[in-house]
Every structure is written in structure tokens, then in C-alpha cells.
Symmetry: C2
Subunit: 126 residues, 2 copies
DNA sequence: GTTGATGCAAAAACTTTGCATCGTG
DNA sequence: CACGATGCAAAGTTTTTGCATCAAC
């Protein structure tokens, strides 16, 4: 754990668990806090934090992957995404987790994680 | 409907509905059939076919988006993805569709489509 | 000192766009 | 002819990598 890695993880922790940031977002937000870390290091660290299980990697919207804090109280949660404005809401569902688990078991896969992505149009964009 | 568009859609139809292709994949497979279409046109056409509802756009794995044929008998289906080798299996679940629908309704969103992505490790990669 | 992490810049991978040209009606 | 679609090449984005330097043990 280097200072840079701590700063990046701390950023996610400060923002809370419902926030989705791209690598650029992380870079910009750290700059606003006068923390200067190269984009290359941010990419490397995000990858690392995902592998270590601190972050979750999302591929919801255009313009690159997003990362979010994986909090223990919300292991598998789901996303409702407005395809027009990008607004995303999170929700949970025990049933969905069970479906994922049984799908994995049926085919002999070892389950890691399951997320339901619901694409929709939010009230403001209708 | 131009010859190029027909060729691209025909490729998906020939391969069937469980196949996930990147833009590059489409380009390569068409070349193997001696069909020469520029990558730019392929990107434009894939976008078009998604908008027209013929294809579904996926963001499952590394290396760019994938596209699959949207068949009428499988409107909302789900993916079990091996994070090691990229093998993906499809399955369906009525329950998951219902969860997506009610999540959208709860927040006043207009539902378009919902897919459950289950990340796991397949038997061969365990 | 050795090892791994960082920053920078260059490169790679993926996607879009401008523009001239081609095809179809 | 008019219109939109295509191909090509250039540009734009996002992400990775090589390499010299730096920091920690």
C-alpha cells in the first residue's frame, strides 16, 4: 500500500458506495484535492483494487468503464440506468442473487458476482 | 437497406442468436467470406442495427463491445461469463425480468431491457 | 542494494468523423 | 440530379506499456 493507492481508495470511501467513477473522474477529483497522480498509475491502481476486491468494475455507459466501492453490506446490487442521461439508481434483490447462483451451479461454474443491469428511461428524460 | 447492411445482418443470422461479435470480429468474418466492408461502415451499421432493434449491444468482456442477434423468442436473456477464458453461456429467467420491471416501475422509469450478468469461473478454468 | 511503484511519454486498442466518391432511385 | 451510404484516412478516446527514476524495506 503506497500513498497513491491509499489516496485513490480513500477517495472512493469518502464518496460512499453508490458512486461510479471513471479513471478520468478519479484523476480530476484528486486534482481538485491537490493530489497529483498520473493517469497511468490510476489505471494500474484501479485494476489492482478490483483484483483485491475493494472495487467493482462496471461497464454501464459510454465513455469508459466505471468503478465503485464494494461495500460489505451491499455485495451484489443492481443498476437501473437511464440510457438518455446516464442517471443510475441502485437496488438489491435476493431473488436475482439466487438465480445467478443456480445458473452458475447448473453449468458447474464457480460464482463470483452477479449484477442485473436494467436499461430504461428516467422520468426526466421521458 | 444497402448491400453492406444486409451482409452484416445476414452474418449474425447465419451464426445464430447465441453469438457475441465485436466490430473487429464482424470485419474479419466478412473478410473470410470475401466480403470487404470498411470498419467505419461496420461501426455505423452496428449502431444502426441496435437502434433498429435487430441487435443487442453487450459490454461483457475486455476488448470492446460485443453485439448479438436479438431473436424474438429470447427477448431478455442473461449471461454467465467466465472471467478467465471469456466463455459465455446464456440462460433465461422469468423472475429476473419481473424484478427488472418492478425496479423500473418503483422509480418511474420506462423499462427497455434488463440483463443479468453473472461473473464466474468455468469448470475448465477452475 | 533489490524490489516494486510511479510518472512520463509513446503506443496500442477501440471508435468516430470529415470528406470525396459512389449507387440508387 | 439528389440523397444518403460508403471507404479511406485522420482524429478522438480510452487504456496499456516501456523505461528511467524514486521510495521503502
Amino acid at each position: 500500500m503506497t500513498p497513491q493507492r491509499r489516496k485513490i481508495l480513500a477517495l472512493f470511501e469518502d464518496l460512499g458506495s453508490g458512486i461510479h467513477l471513471s479513471a478520468e473522474d478519479v484523476h480530476d477529483k484528486l486534482l481538485n484535492l491537490d493530489v497529483r497522480i498520473s493517469l497511468a498509475t490510476i489505471y494500474r491502481t484501479l485494476r489492482l483494487l478490483v483484483d483485491m476486491g475493494f472495487l467493482n468494475e462496471l461497464e454501464l455507459s459510454e465513455g469508459g468503464h466505471r468503478f465503485e466501492l464494494l461495500s460489505l453490506d451491499k455485495p451484489d446490487h443492481h443498476h437501473l440506468i437511464c440510457i438518455r442521461c446516464g442517471r443510475t439508481e441502485e437496488f438489491e434483490s435476493e431473488v436475482v442473487i439466487k438465480v445467478g447462483r443456480s445458473a452458475a451451479e447448473d453449468l458447474g461454474f464457480k460464482l463470483l458476482e452477479s449484477t442485473l443491469n436494467v436499461r430504461a428511461i428516467c422520468p426526466a428524460c421521458k
